[in-house]
Protein backbone atom coordinates (compact mmCIF):
# COMPACT_ATOMS: atom_id res chain seq x y z
CA UNK A 1 0.00 0.00 0.00
CA UNK A 2 2.86 2.32 0.91
CA UNK A 3 4.35 2.26 -2.58
CA UNK A 4 1.09 2.91 -4.39
CA UNK A 5 0.28 5.92 -2.28
CA UNK A 6 3.79 7.24 -2.90
CA UNK A 7 3.55 6.89 -6.65
CA UNK A 8 0.07 8.39 -6.46
CA UNK A 9 1.46 11.42 -4.67
CA UNK A 10 4.25 11.65 -7.21
CA UNK A 11 1.78 11.56 -10.10
CA UNK A 12 -0.44 14.23 -8.57
CA UNK A 13 2.59 16.39 -7.81
CA UNK A 14 3.74 16.04 -11.40
CA UNK A 15 0.34 17.16 -12.74
CA UNK A 16 0.34 20.16 -10.42
CA UNK A 17 3.90 21.09 -11.42
CA UNK A 18 3.03 20.91 -15.11
CA UNK A 19 -0.15 22.94 -14.59
CA UNK A 20 1.55 25.71 -12.65
CA UNK A 21 4.99 25.89 -14.31
CA UNK A 22 3.97 28.07 -17.27
CA UNK A 23 2.21 30.56 -14.99
CA UNK A 24 5.11 30.79 -12.55
CA UNK A 25 7.54 30.96 -15.47
CA UNK A 26 5.68 33.95 -16.93
CA UNK A 27 5.53 35.83 -13.65
CA UNK A 28 9.15 35.02 -12.78
CA UNK A 29 10.45 36.58 -15.98
CA UNK A 30 8.24 39.63 -15.57
CA UNK A 31 10.90 40.77 -13.09
CA UNK A 32 13.79 40.17 -15.49
CA UNK A 33 15.77 43.26 -16.46
CA UNK A 34 17.07 41.42 -19.53
CA UNK A 35 14.67 41.55 -22.46
CA UNK A 36 14.01 37.82 -22.83
CA UNK A 37 12.37 34.84 -21.12
CA UNK A 38 15.61 32.83 -21.18
CA UNK A 39 18.27 34.25 -18.94
CA UNK A 40 17.41 36.08 -15.76
CA UNK A 41 19.70 39.08 -15.35
CA UNK A 42 18.51 41.09 -12.38
CA UNK A 43 15.36 42.04 -10.56
CA UNK A 44 13.38 44.98 -11.87
CA UNK A 45 9.92 46.54 -11.73
CA UNK A 46 10.44 48.28 -15.08
CA UNK A 47 8.02 46.06 -17.03
CA UNK A 48 5.27 46.80 -14.53
CA UNK A 49 6.12 50.47 -14.80
CA UNK A 50 5.90 50.11 -18.58
CA UNK A 51 2.39 48.68 -18.27
CA UNK A 52 1.21 51.53 -16.07
CA UNK A 53 2.82 54.27 -18.16
CA UNK A 54 1.34 52.94 -21.40
CA UNK A 55 -1.97 54.82 -21.54
CA UNK A 56 -3.18 52.74 -24.47
CA UNK A 57 -2.65 49.53 -22.52
CA UNK A 58 -4.36 51.00 -19.45
CA UNK A 59 -7.32 51.97 -21.64
CA UNK A 60 -7.49 48.39 -22.94
CA UNK A 61 -7.37 47.02 -19.38
CA UNK A 62 -10.17 49.40 -18.39
CA UNK A 63 -12.19 48.42 -21.47
CA UNK A 64 -11.81 44.75 -20.59
CA UNK A 65 -12.96 45.29 -17.01
CA UNK A 66 -15.87 47.55 -18.02
CA UNK A 67 -17.07 45.07 -20.65
CA UNK A 68 -16.77 42.20 -18.15
CA UNK A 69 -18.64 43.96 -15.33
CA UNK A 70 -21.39 45.42 -17.55
CA UNK A 71 -21.95 42.22 -19.53
CA UNK A 72 -21.99 40.06 -16.39
CA UNK A 73 -24.47 42.42 -14.72
CA UNK A 74 -26.86 42.61 -17.66
CA UNK A 75 -26.56 38.89 -18.40
CA UNK A 76 -27.31 38.12 -14.74
CA UNK A 77 -30.48 40.22 -14.80
CA UNK A 78 -31.77 38.70 -18.04
CA UNK A 79 -30.67 35.21 -17.01
CA UNK A 80 -32.29 35.34 -13.56
CA UNK A 81 -35.65 36.46 -14.94
CA UNK A 82 -35.34 33.93 -17.73
CA UNK A 83 -34.74 31.09 -15.29
CA UNK A 84 -37.64 32.16 -13.08
CA UNK A 85 -39.82 32.10 -16.19
CA UNK A 86 -38.50 28.68 -17.21
CA UNK A 87 -39.06 27.12 -13.79
CA UNK A 88 -42.70 28.19 -13.65
CA UNK A 89 -43.42 26.99 -17.18
CA UNK A 90 -46.30 24.52 -17.18
CA UNK A 91 -45.71 23.18 -20.67
CA UNK A 92 -43.02 20.51 -20.21
CA UNK A 93 -42.04 20.09 -23.86
CA UNK A 94 -41.78 23.85 -24.34
CA UNK A 95 -39.57 24.01 -21.27
CA UNK A 96 -37.36 21.25 -22.57
CA UNK A 97 -36.89 22.92 -25.95
CA UNK A 98 -36.13 26.27 -24.30
CA UNK A 99 -33.50 24.55 -22.18
CA UNK A 100 -31.90 22.96 -25.24
CA UNK A 101 -31.85 26.33 -26.99
CA UNK A 102 -30.29 27.76 -23.84
CA UNK A 103 -27.40 25.31 -24.09
CA UNK A 104 -26.66 25.92 -27.77
CA UNK A 105 -24.23 28.76 -27.08
CA UNK A 106 -22.49 26.81 -24.32
CA UNK A 107 -21.59 23.86 -26.51
CA UNK A 108 -20.99 25.78 -29.75
CA UNK A 109 -17.36 26.27 -30.69
CA UNK A 110 -16.42 29.89 -30.03
CA UNK A 111 -15.22 30.35 -33.60
CA UNK A 112 -18.74 29.59 -34.84
CA UNK A 113 -20.24 31.97 -32.26
CA UNK A 114 -17.79 34.70 -33.28
CA UNK A 115 -18.36 34.24 -37.01
CA UNK A 116 -22.14 34.11 -36.73
CA UNK A 117 -22.24 37.19 -34.48
CA UNK A 118 -20.05 39.01 -36.99
CA UNK A 119 -22.60 38.22 -39.72
CA UNK A 120 -25.44 39.23 -37.41
CA UNK A 121 -23.93 42.61 -36.49
CA UNK A 122 -23.13 43.40 -40.10
CA UNK A 123 -26.62 42.35 -41.16
CA UNK A 124 -28.45 44.56 -38.65
CA UNK A 125 -25.90 47.36 -38.91
CA UNK A 126 -24.30 47.44 -35.46
CA UNK A 127 -20.92 49.16 -35.75
CA UNK A 128 -18.08 46.87 -34.68
CA UNK A 129 -16.49 48.16 -31.50
CA UNK A 130 -17.48 48.57 -27.86
CA UNK A 131 -21.19 47.93 -28.51
CA UNK A 132 -20.72 44.76 -30.53
CA UNK A 133 -18.23 43.32 -28.03
CA UNK A 134 -20.48 44.15 -25.06
CA UNK A 135 -23.56 42.67 -26.73
CA UNK A 136 -21.69 39.48 -27.68
CA UNK A 137 -20.41 39.05 -24.14
CA UNK A 138 -23.91 39.51 -22.72
CA UNK A 139 -25.18 36.99 -25.27
CA UNK A 140 -22.76 34.20 -24.41
CA UNK A 141 -23.00 34.83 -20.65
CA UNK A 142 -26.79 34.52 -20.35
CA UNK A 143 -26.93 30.69 -20.68
CA UNK A 144 -24.19 30.33 -18.06
CA UNK A 145 -26.17 32.43 -15.59
CA UNK A 146 -29.29 30.36 -16.31
CA UNK A 147 -27.39 27.13 -15.67
CA UNK A 148 -26.15 28.43 -12.32
CA UNK A 149 -29.53 29.82 -11.18
CA UNK A 150 -31.86 27.03 -12.35
CA UNK A 151 -30.71 24.34 -9.86
CA UNK A 152 -31.30 26.77 -6.97
CA UNK A 153 -34.79 27.53 -8.23
CA UNK A 154 -35.54 23.83 -8.57
CA UNK A 155 -34.35 23.26 -5.01
CA UNK A 156 -36.88 25.79 -3.79
CA UNK A 157 -40.01 24.26 -2.38
CA UNK A 158 -43.05 25.67 -4.15
CA UNK A 159 -44.99 25.62 -0.87
CA UNK A 160 -42.83 28.60 0.16
CA UNK A 161 -44.47 30.68 -2.52
CA UNK A 162 -47.94 29.38 -1.67
CA UNK A 163 -47.33 30.21 1.97
CA UNK A 164 -46.21 33.72 1.09
CA UNK A 165 -49.26 34.20 -1.13
CA UNK A 166 -51.58 32.88 1.59
CA UNK A 167 -50.07 35.32 4.02
CA UNK A 168 -51.02 38.13 1.68
CA UNK A 169 -47.74 38.81 -0.12
CA UNK A 170 -48.06 40.52 -3.48
CA UNK A 171 -46.36 39.14 -6.61
CA UNK A 172 -43.62 41.69 -6.12
CA UNK A 173 -43.11 40.72 -2.47
CA UNK A 174 -42.88 37.05 -3.44
CA UNK A 175 -40.20 37.87 -5.97
CA UNK A 176 -38.10 40.22 -3.85
CA UNK A 177 -38.65 38.69 -0.40
CA UNK A 178 -38.92 34.98 -1.15
CA UNK A 179 -37.50 33.95 -4.52
CA UNK A 180 -34.53 36.30 -4.89
CA UNK A 181 -33.16 35.74 -1.35
CA UNK A 182 -33.45 31.99 -1.78
CA UNK A 183 -31.58 31.85 -5.09
CA UNK A 184 -29.00 34.50 -4.14
CA UNK A 185 -26.04 32.06 -4.07
CA UNK A 186 -26.93 30.92 -7.58
CA UNK A 187 -27.16 34.53 -8.75
CA UNK A 188 -23.72 35.33 -7.34
CA UNK A 189 -22.23 32.17 -8.84
CA UNK A 190 -23.74 33.06 -12.22
CA UNK A 191 -22.41 36.60 -12.03
CA UNK A 192 -18.88 35.40 -11.22
CA UNK A 193 -18.92 32.79 -13.96
CA UNK A 194 -20.14 35.38 -16.48
CA UNK A 195 -17.37 37.71 -15.30
CA UNK A 196 -14.63 35.13 -15.79
CA UNK A 197 -16.00 34.01 -19.16
CA UNK A 198 -15.98 37.58 -20.34
CA UNK A 199 -12.46 38.30 -19.02
CA UNK A 200 -11.16 35.12 -20.59
CA UNK A 201 -12.85 35.32 -23.96
CA UNK A 202 -10.66 35.66 -26.99
CA UNK A 203 -12.23 34.03 -30.04
CA UNK A 204 -15.65 35.72 -30.02
CA UNK A 205 -14.18 39.13 -29.22
CA UNK A 206 -11.55 38.69 -31.93
CA UNK A 207 -14.30 38.34 -34.54
CA UNK A 208 -16.52 41.23 -33.47
CA UNK A 209 -14.01 43.77 -32.22
CA UNK A 210 -13.34 45.83 -35.37
CA UNK A 211 -10.43 48.24 -35.56
CA UNK A 212 -10.73 50.87 -32.88
CA UNK A 213 -11.59 48.72 -29.87
CA UNK A 214 -9.54 46.03 -28.18
CA UNK A 215 -9.70 43.87 -25.08
CA UNK A 216 -6.82 42.36 -23.16
CA UNK A 217 -6.98 38.94 -24.86
CA UNK A 218 -7.04 40.41 -28.35
CA UNK A 219 -4.20 42.79 -27.47
CA UNK A 220 -2.04 40.00 -26.02
CA UNK A 221 -2.67 37.99 -29.19
CA UNK A 222 -1.42 40.73 -31.47
CA UNK A 223 1.55 41.42 -29.15
CA UNK A 224 2.46 37.72 -28.95
CA UNK A 225 2.34 37.34 -32.73
CA UNK A 226 5.19 39.81 -33.05
CA UNK A 227 7.30 37.92 -30.50
CA UNK A 228 8.23 38.08 -26.85
CA UNK A 229 7.73 41.31 -24.92
CA UNK A 230 8.16 41.23 -21.18
CA UNK A 231 5.33 43.75 -20.90
CA UNK A 232 3.04 40.76 -21.50
CA UNK A 233 4.72 39.00 -18.58
CA UNK A 234 4.06 41.97 -16.33
CA UNK A 235 0.45 41.94 -17.53
CA UNK A 236 0.19 38.26 -16.66
CA UNK A 237 1.45 39.02 -13.15
CA UNK A 238 -1.34 41.56 -12.73
CA UNK A 239 -3.93 39.24 -14.29
CA UNK A 240 -2.84 36.39 -12.01
CA UNK A 241 -3.35 38.50 -8.87
CA UNK A 242 -6.76 39.69 -10.07
CA UNK A 243 -7.77 36.13 -10.96
CA UNK A 244 -6.71 34.85 -7.54
CA UNK A 245 -8.74 37.60 -5.87
CA UNK A 246 -11.76 36.63 -7.99
CA UNK A 247 -11.33 32.94 -7.12
CA UNK A 248 -11.05 33.71 -3.42
CA UNK A 249 -14.06 36.00 -3.66
CA UNK A 250 -16.05 33.37 -5.50
CA UNK A 251 -14.99 30.69 -3.01
CA UNK A 252 -16.17 32.77 -0.06
CA UNK A 253 -19.44 33.67 -1.71
CA UNK A 254 -20.17 30.05 -2.57
CA UNK A 255 -19.10 28.84 0.89
CA UNK A 256 -21.21 31.48 2.60
CA UNK A 257 -24.02 30.61 0.26
CA UNK A 258 -24.15 27.10 1.64
CA UNK A 259 -25.37 28.02 5.11
CA UNK A 260 -27.45 31.14 4.83
CA UNK A 261 -29.93 29.62 2.41
CA UNK A 262 -32.02 28.99 5.50
CA UNK A 263 -31.25 32.41 6.88
CA UNK A 264 -32.37 34.16 3.74
CA UNK A 265 -35.73 32.50 4.04
CA UNK A 266 -36.13 33.15 7.72
CA UNK A 267 -36.28 36.91 7.23
Amino acid sequence: METTSKSAKFYLALVFIVLYTPIIYLIFYSFNSGGSMNSFESFTWEHYAAVFSDTRLIMILLNTVIVALLSALIATIIGVFGSIGIVFMRNKSLRRSILSLNNVLIVSPDVVIGASFLILFTAIGVKLGFASVLISHIAFSIPIVVLMVLPKLQEMNSTLIDAAADLGATKRDILTRVIIPFIKPGIFAGFFMALTYSLDDFAVTFFVTGNGFSTLSVEIYSMARTGITLTINALSGIVFIVTLLLVVGYYFVSQRGKNPVGMGVRK
Partner: protein, 274 residues
Amino acid sequence: METKTTKTFYLIPYYVWIALFVIAPIALIAYYSFFDLHGNFTLENYLNFFSSVYLKLTLSSFWYAFLITFFTLVIAYPTAYLLTKTKHKQLWLLLIIIPSWINLLLKTYAFIGIFGLYGPVNAFLNVFGIGEKQILFTDFSFVFVAVYIFIPFMILPIFNSLDKLNPSLIDASRDLGASSWTTFSKVILPLTINGVKAGIQAVFIPSLSLFMITRLIAGNKVITLGTAIEQQFLVTQNWGMGSTIAVFLIIFMVIIMIITGQRDKGATSNGNNK
Protein backbone atom coordinates in the same frame (compact mmCIF):
# COMPACT_ATOMS: atom_id res chain seq x y z
CA MET B 1 -54.88 35.42 -15.62
CA GLU B 2 -52.68 38.15 -14.24
CA THR B 3 -50.10 35.50 -13.34
CA LYS B 4 -49.69 34.51 -16.94
CA THR B 5 -48.89 38.00 -18.13
CA THR B 6 -46.32 38.59 -15.37
CA LYS B 7 -44.65 35.30 -16.21
CA THR B 8 -44.32 36.07 -19.88
CA PHE B 9 -43.11 39.54 -18.94
CA TYR B 10 -40.17 37.96 -17.08
CA LEU B 11 -39.35 35.98 -20.15
CA ILE B 12 -39.46 38.75 -22.78
CA PRO B 13 -35.75 39.73 -22.67
CA TYR B 14 -34.79 36.07 -22.48
CA TYR B 15 -36.92 35.19 -25.51
CA VAL B 16 -35.48 38.15 -27.42
CA TRP B 17 -32.03 36.79 -26.59
CA ILE B 18 -32.93 33.31 -27.86
CA ALA B 19 -34.36 34.70 -31.08
CA LEU B 20 -31.53 37.14 -31.77
CA PHE B 21 -28.46 35.33 -30.51
CA VAL B 22 -29.29 31.63 -30.71
CA ILE B 23 -31.64 31.13 -33.64
CA ALA B 24 -30.76 34.08 -35.88
CA PRO B 25 -26.97 33.45 -35.95
CA ILE B 26 -27.39 29.79 -36.93
CA ALA B 27 -29.93 30.74 -39.59
CA LEU B 28 -27.59 33.44 -40.92
CA ILE B 29 -24.64 31.02 -41.09
CA ALA B 30 -26.76 28.53 -43.02
CA TYR B 31 -28.03 31.32 -45.33
CA TYR B 32 -24.58 32.77 -46.05
CA SER B 33 -23.17 29.35 -46.90
CA PHE B 34 -25.14 29.51 -50.17
CA PHE B 35 -23.47 32.68 -51.45
CA ASP B 36 -20.15 33.24 -53.18
CA LEU B 37 -17.74 36.15 -52.84
CA HIS B 38 -19.84 38.39 -55.08
CA GLY B 39 -23.14 37.70 -53.36
CA ASN B 40 -24.54 35.32 -55.97
CA PHE B 41 -26.50 32.26 -54.95
CA THR B 42 -24.39 29.14 -55.40
CA LEU B 43 -23.81 25.60 -54.21
CA GLU B 44 -20.14 25.86 -55.02
CA ASN B 45 -19.08 26.26 -51.40
CA TYR B 46 -20.50 22.84 -50.64
CA LEU B 47 -18.83 21.31 -53.70
CA ASN B 48 -15.62 22.98 -52.58
CA PHE B 49 -15.92 21.48 -49.15
CA PHE B 50 -15.94 18.01 -50.66
CA SER B 51 -12.81 18.73 -52.67
CA SER B 52 -9.61 17.04 -51.54
CA VAL B 53 -8.24 20.18 -49.85
CA TYR B 54 -11.08 20.56 -47.40
CA LEU B 55 -11.55 16.84 -46.86
CA LYS B 56 -7.89 16.54 -45.94
CA LEU B 57 -8.22 19.51 -43.65
CA THR B 58 -11.26 17.99 -41.96
CA LEU B 59 -9.50 14.65 -41.52
CA SER B 60 -6.37 16.21 -40.07
CA SER B 61 -8.50 18.40 -37.82
CA PHE B 62 -10.28 15.29 -36.50
CA TRP B 63 -6.96 13.48 -36.07
CA TYR B 64 -5.51 16.30 -33.97
CA ALA B 65 -8.72 16.59 -31.96
CA PHE B 66 -8.58 12.84 -31.35
CA LEU B 67 -4.94 12.99 -30.22
CA ILE B 68 -5.65 15.94 -27.92
CA THR B 69 -8.72 14.27 -26.40
CA PHE B 70 -6.92 10.94 -25.99
CA PHE B 71 -3.92 12.36 -24.15
CA THR B 72 -6.10 14.65 -22.05
CA LEU B 73 -8.22 11.66 -20.99
CA VAL B 74 -5.20 9.46 -20.24
CA ILE B 75 -3.71 12.13 -17.99
CA ALA B 76 -6.96 13.40 -16.47
CA TYR B 77 -8.60 10.13 -15.42
CA PRO B 78 -5.90 8.98 -12.97
CA THR B 79 -5.56 12.55 -11.72
CA ALA B 80 -9.28 12.79 -11.00
CA TYR B 81 -9.23 9.35 -9.36
CA LEU B 82 -6.31 10.20 -7.10
CA LEU B 83 -7.87 13.57 -6.27
CA THR B 84 -10.95 11.86 -4.86
CA LYS B 85 -8.64 9.92 -2.54
CA THR B 86 -6.98 13.02 -1.05
CA LYS B 87 -7.98 14.45 2.29
CA HIS B 88 -9.04 17.96 1.27
CA LYS B 89 -10.30 16.98 -2.17
CA GLN B 90 -12.40 20.10 -2.78
CA LEU B 91 -9.39 22.31 -2.09
CA TRP B 92 -7.15 20.28 -4.40
CA LEU B 93 -9.81 20.37 -7.07
CA LEU B 94 -9.96 24.16 -6.74
CA LEU B 95 -6.18 24.26 -7.20
CA ILE B 96 -6.53 22.21 -10.39
CA ILE B 97 -9.18 24.60 -11.67
CA ILE B 98 -7.38 27.88 -10.91
CA PRO B 99 -5.01 27.58 -13.92
CA SER B 100 -8.04 27.25 -16.19
CA TRP B 101 -9.18 30.67 -15.00
CA ILE B 102 -5.94 32.38 -16.03
CA ASN B 103 -6.31 34.07 -19.38
CA LEU B 104 -5.90 31.52 -22.17
CA LEU B 105 -3.70 33.80 -24.24
CA LEU B 106 -1.22 34.24 -21.40
CA LYS B 107 -0.83 30.50 -20.92
CA THR B 108 -0.25 30.03 -24.63
CA TYR B 109 2.22 32.89 -24.68
CA ALA B 110 4.19 31.24 -21.85
CA PHE B 111 4.83 28.24 -24.09
CA ILE B 112 6.32 30.46 -26.79
CA GLY B 113 9.05 31.16 -24.24
CA ILE B 114 9.25 27.67 -22.74
CA PHE B 115 9.52 25.87 -26.08
CA GLY B 116 11.65 28.60 -27.70
CA LEU B 117 15.01 27.86 -29.25
CA TYR B 118 16.82 29.24 -26.18
CA GLY B 119 14.08 28.35 -23.72
CA PRO B 120 14.30 26.11 -20.66
CA VAL B 121 13.29 22.90 -22.45
CA ASN B 122 16.09 23.27 -24.97
CA ALA B 123 18.51 24.25 -22.21
CA PHE B 124 17.50 21.06 -20.42
CA LEU B 125 18.02 18.99 -23.57
CA ASN B 126 21.43 20.61 -23.99
CA VAL B 127 22.50 19.39 -20.56
CA PHE B 128 22.00 15.83 -21.78
CA GLY B 129 23.92 16.61 -24.92
CA ILE B 130 20.91 16.22 -27.18
CA GLY B 131 21.33 19.71 -28.48
CA GLU B 132 18.82 22.37 -29.43
CA LYS B 133 15.76 21.23 -31.25
CA GLN B 134 13.03 23.13 -33.01
CA ILE B 135 10.14 22.44 -30.61
CA LEU B 136 7.97 25.45 -31.24
CA PHE B 137 5.97 25.34 -34.49
CA THR B 138 5.72 21.55 -34.53
CA ASP B 139 2.80 19.14 -34.16
CA PHE B 140 4.17 18.07 -30.81
CA SER B 141 4.09 21.56 -29.32
CA PHE B 142 0.58 22.11 -30.65
CA VAL B 143 -0.81 18.92 -29.08
CA PHE B 144 1.10 19.51 -25.83
CA VAL B 145 -0.22 23.05 -25.34
CA ALA B 146 -3.76 22.03 -26.26
CA VAL B 147 -3.66 19.12 -23.80
CA TYR B 148 -2.28 21.47 -21.14
CA ILE B 149 -5.16 23.86 -21.68
CA PHE B 150 -7.91 21.22 -21.70
CA ILE B 151 -6.79 19.07 -18.74
CA PRO B 152 -8.87 20.91 -16.10
CA PHE B 153 -11.99 20.66 -18.28
CA MET B 154 -11.56 16.89 -18.47
CA ILE B 155 -10.72 16.44 -14.78
CA LEU B 156 -13.79 18.30 -13.52
CA PRO B 157 -16.58 16.06 -14.92
CA ILE B 158 -14.62 12.86 -14.22
CA PHE B 159 -13.93 14.00 -10.67
CA ASN B 160 -17.62 14.70 -10.13
CA SER B 161 -18.70 11.28 -11.36
CA LEU B 162 -15.98 9.49 -9.35
CA ASP B 163 -16.95 11.47 -6.29
CA LYS B 164 -20.54 10.26 -6.56
CA LEU B 165 -19.41 6.64 -6.82
CA ASN B 166 -20.33 4.68 -3.72
CA PRO B 167 -17.01 3.38 -2.27
CA SER B 168 -18.70 0.28 -0.85
CA LEU B 169 -19.19 -0.94 -4.43
CA ILE B 170 -15.42 -1.08 -4.82
CA ASP B 171 -15.06 -2.90 -1.49
CA ALA B 172 -17.75 -5.35 -2.56
CA SER B 173 -15.96 -6.03 -5.83
CA ARG B 174 -12.68 -6.63 -3.97
CA ASP B 175 -14.39 -8.88 -1.42
CA LEU B 176 -15.82 -10.94 -4.22
CA GLY B 177 -12.29 -11.57 -5.45
CA ALA B 178 -12.01 -9.17 -8.37
CA SER B 179 -8.53 -7.94 -9.22
CA SER B 180 -7.82 -4.21 -9.29
CA TRP B 181 -8.07 -4.23 -13.07
CA THR B 182 -11.40 -6.08 -13.08
CA THR B 183 -12.72 -3.72 -10.43
CA PHE B 184 -11.69 -0.79 -12.57
CA SER B 185 -12.98 -2.06 -15.90
CA LYS B 186 -16.17 -3.70 -14.63
CA VAL B 187 -17.18 -1.41 -11.77
CA ILE B 188 -15.47 1.97 -11.67
CA LEU B 189 -15.28 2.78 -15.38
CA PRO B 190 -18.87 1.82 -16.31
CA LEU B 191 -20.20 3.84 -13.38
CA THR B 192 -18.18 6.93 -14.29
CA ILE B 193 -18.60 6.68 -18.06
CA ASN B 194 -20.94 9.67 -18.05
CA GLY B 195 -18.21 11.85 -16.59
CA VAL B 196 -15.80 10.60 -19.25
CA LYS B 197 -18.34 11.34 -21.98
CA ALA B 198 -18.94 14.83 -20.64
CA GLY B 199 -15.18 15.39 -20.55
CA ILE B 200 -14.73 14.15 -24.12
CA GLN B 201 -17.50 16.49 -25.20
CA ALA B 202 -15.84 19.40 -23.41
CA VAL B 203 -12.49 18.72 -25.08
CA PHE B 204 -13.17 17.27 -28.53
CA ILE B 205 -15.49 19.97 -29.88
CA PRO B 206 -13.26 22.91 -28.89
CA SER B 207 -10.23 20.99 -30.24
CA LEU B 208 -11.80 20.93 -33.68
CA SER B 209 -12.17 24.67 -33.63
CA LEU B 210 -8.93 25.86 -32.06
CA PHE B 211 -7.40 28.66 -34.04
CA MET B 212 -5.40 30.85 -31.70
CA ILE B 213 -3.04 28.07 -30.56
CA THR B 214 -2.47 26.90 -34.12
CA ARG B 215 -1.34 30.39 -35.06
CA LEU B 216 0.84 31.11 -32.04
CA ILE B 217 2.27 27.66 -31.27
CA ALA B 218 2.00 25.63 -34.45
CA GLY B 219 3.00 28.51 -36.69
CA ASN B 220 0.29 27.90 -39.29
CA LYS B 221 1.55 24.33 -39.81
CA VAL B 222 -1.56 22.82 -38.27
CA ILE B 223 -4.81 23.95 -39.84
CA THR B 224 -7.98 23.01 -38.00
CA LEU B 225 -11.57 23.68 -39.00
CA GLY B 226 -11.47 26.68 -36.65
CA THR B 227 -8.37 28.09 -38.34
CA ALA B 228 -10.02 27.66 -41.73
CA ILE B 229 -13.14 29.54 -40.58
CA GLU B 230 -11.08 32.38 -39.14
CA GLN B 231 -9.01 32.52 -42.33
CA GLN B 232 -12.10 32.72 -44.56
CA PHE B 233 -13.87 35.30 -42.44
CA LEU B 234 -11.10 37.66 -41.43
CA VAL B 235 -8.34 37.21 -44.00
CA THR B 236 -9.83 36.20 -47.36
CA GLN B 237 -13.18 37.79 -46.46
CA ASN B 238 -14.96 34.89 -48.15
CA TRP B 239 -17.87 34.68 -45.73
CA GLY B 240 -19.72 32.15 -47.89
CA MET B 241 -16.98 29.54 -47.68
CA GLY B 242 -16.37 30.35 -44.00
CA SER B 243 -20.07 29.82 -43.29
CA THR B 244 -20.03 26.52 -45.15
CA ILE B 245 -17.18 25.23 -42.98
CA ALA B 246 -19.05 26.53 -39.93
CA VAL B 247 -22.18 24.62 -41.03
CA PHE B 248 -20.14 21.41 -41.16
CA LEU B 249 -18.52 22.17 -37.82
CA ILE B 250 -22.02 22.54 -36.32
CA ILE B 251 -23.07 19.23 -37.92
CA PHE B 252 -19.97 17.48 -36.53
CA MET B 253 -20.72 19.01 -33.15
CA VAL B 254 -24.27 17.66 -33.15
CA ILE B 255 -23.02 14.19 -34.15
CA ILE B 256 -20.43 14.20 -31.36
CA MET B 257 -23.05 15.31 -28.87
CA ILE B 258 -25.35 12.50 -29.93
CA ILE B 259 -22.54 9.93 -29.64
CA THR B 260 -21.43 11.18 -26.22
CA GLY B 261 -24.98 11.95 -25.16
CA GLN B 262 -26.04 10.47 -21.85
CA ARG B 263 -28.76 7.93 -22.16
CA ASP B 264 -28.92 7.27 -18.46
CA LYS B 265 -31.75 9.63 -17.58
CA GLY B 266 -31.24 9.46 -13.84
CA ALA B 267 -27.75 10.89 -14.01
CA THR B 268 -28.35 13.86 -16.27
CA SER B 269 -28.07 17.23 -14.69
CA ASN B 270 -30.32 18.98 -17.19
CA GLY B 271 -33.06 19.12 -14.65
CA ASN B 272 -35.37 17.21 -16.99
CA ASN B 273 -35.88 14.54 -14.39
CA LYS B 274 -37.38 16.93 -11.89
